[in-house]
Symmetry: C2
Subunit: 361 residues, 2 copies
């Protein structure tokens, strides 16, 4: 998508021995890019959330693994780097899917050809992600068109965290339909959940919607339920880090609360995802590991000072501890439907299998 | 309650022509007090949230009105100052109740005796608030004792915003039972919702629990649902700014979301309040005016720099607007019960009338 009229992807190859990313820890204050040259660089970028978003970190990890293969094409290096990259974020499933795809591609291939094969596979993962998000956008657009036609006035869409193009290679998952609807002239406005503690909504979602010209308003995570009660939310769309076979949804902490409010107030609640996010091996969301992140993300906040510099301030009572679970699990029963690259389905095992038959548990 | 062993109230008289408050906008970074000498001082302190909390602003407004009566005991001044102070916060009902109580006390009294009568009435409101909160604490303590006896291990209590002694004259509403349970040796731990956008949980609740020695952990507002799902919350207790005759609860924005999660996971959800918070004139929460506050509260954050000074930083995408509703309404059906100064009752009109008979709509 575009920033000030220039098209960007969130990850791009630089020759065959490096790749670039946008440093998302600097957004929205500064648009900075990073050049990554090793698998360790990629692991650091993922862990520190310089790059983030379930689909995007799959592509970044694949490029990182490809760089390791170029440095050392042995099976031992491949296995070691695979595990190192897979451990960077425990909740996201695309990460594991993308790494496995590179590993599978190299199976029984000569060491001499592995570097080139791995690089092409990483590039294919990135290109396919952009294409999948575009398909998700088209299918989600149908839902927005229908609601907009019924309402006959500006549609209000609520989203949590960032599942826009900055979370994928391009387009986004939850925001892809929003961009397409906006581009075809449907009047809409997005309620952007701030998304504490890392503020991906206030910083990334607001940034990318603003850069593309989509009307939006940032709200505290606490406010969404009130606006749903007041009839000021017509649709919720969020992304996800992992969907289990029964349709349970792991997503950014707080998603569960918005899904409860949507159910309570009759607002449709959709989850947008590429099928690589589905974990067919897990029967339900109870089995998803939930990442515990640093207490500092809760206790401190970074922003722009009036002098234009960045500063980090401690906001909480001195000495008070904090806990910081990164994700929660929204039970399938609260989800109206999934928007995938193959279409929209019910948030059930039957629904998922109707679009993606043939997967084994 | 105590800070570093010294007993504080949140409001106190200074002779009969001024009164003191703790400047809560400076907490948790600094313990500063303010001396208020006019009704305008009181109005500014309430509006700017130097003093806040539904029960406390009632007492502060009463002292403010008493100061105006001392300066000008006429009916015109009384009516004008009443309206000016009542307009400072539209959602809280105690504020109106306390102001009306001072006005009623002065009815048909000589101008010469009004200043003294008003001052005594304000002091009585403050003293009675402290006594009511102590009663709320005793009744809530029964609930905690019962849950603790059943669980036989550390009890986890979640609270939203600040309904502690800083929100009242002393003891608090939601936190009064917590302090009493802690003081009698019941093992407990409090999950403190950060409470964006003003962070009253991370700053005030964490501060006062820490100062009193109560174990607690600050969490993002997004995290409470996850901990309830995980079985790590045994009880929710919150305060309220207004309860309508049918038991609907206006409280800090985000309360509704926690009540939904508590209902969904079977966690008891109690609301603690002095009866002055009940608005018998409103049939349901739909009729409660919801205060819209400044967008800056969402877009900016104040905290301590590493140099030890206070700084305000802009945290959101530049140019993105924000909306900031201060309260939401939790439907009575989500509330397990009310903890009042007269005992615990169901969150229904019958429940409220069983404890407080004789009120007319």
């Amino acid at each position: 998508m575009k920033i000030a009229g220039k098209h960007y992807r969130s990850v791009w190859p630089i020759g065959e021995d490096a790749f670039g990313i946008i440093d998302q820890t600097k957004l929205p204050h500064e648009l900075a890019t990073l050049t990554l040259k090793t698998a360790d660089d990629a692991a650091h970028a993922i862990k520190s959330m310089q790059t983030r978003g379930a689909p995007l970190i799959g592509a970044v990890a694949a490029y990182g693994l490809a760089l390791a293969v170029r440095a050392d094409p042995s099976d031992e290096s491949l296995a070691r780097t695979h595990d190192m990259l897979a451990d960077t974020r425990p909740t996201a499933i695309n990460l594991r899917w993308a790494l496995q795809r590179v590993v599978d591609r190299l199976r029984n291939r000569e060491r001499s050809e592995r570097a080139s094969l791995a690089w092409k596979e990483a590039a294919a993962i990135a290109d396919e992600d952009a294409a999948m998000c575009e398909s998700i956008g088209r299918h989600g657009l149908g839902i927005i068109r229908e609601l907009a036609a019924r309402k006959k006035s500006k549609l209000n869409i609520l989203t949590h965290c960032n599942a826009g193009w900055l979370a994928t290679v391009d387009w986004g998952t939850a925001l892809a339909p929003v961009y397409m609807a906006h581009d075809e002239g449907i009047a809409l406005h997005v309620w952007v959940d701030e998304t504490r503690p890392r503020n991906q909504g206030a910083s990334l979602t607001a940034f990318e919607l603003g850069a593309h010209g989509v009307a939006h308003t940032i709200i505290a995570d606490n406010a969404g339920g009130h606006y749903m009660q007041a009839g000021e939310v017509d649709l919720c769309i969020v992304g996800t880090d992992r969907v289990t076979a029964n349709g349970d949804v792991a997503n950014k902490i707080g998603t569960y609360l918005k899904a409860l409010a949507a159910k309570d107030t009759g607002v449709p609640f959709y989850v947008a995802l590429p099928s690589s996010t589905i974990d067919w091996t897990l029967a339900s969301g109870r089995d998803i590991p939930i990442e515990q992140r640093s207490a500092d993300e809760v206790l401190k906040m970074t922003g722009r000072t009036s002098a234009g510099t960045l500063a980090t301030v401690e906001i909480a009572a001195p000495g008070s501890p904090a806990a910081n679970p990164g994700f929660d699990v929204t039970p399938a029963r609260l989800v109206t439907g999934f928007i995938t690259e193959r279409g929209v389905c019910a948030a059930t095992e039957e629904g998922l299998r109707s679009l993606f038959p043939g997967h084994q548990k």
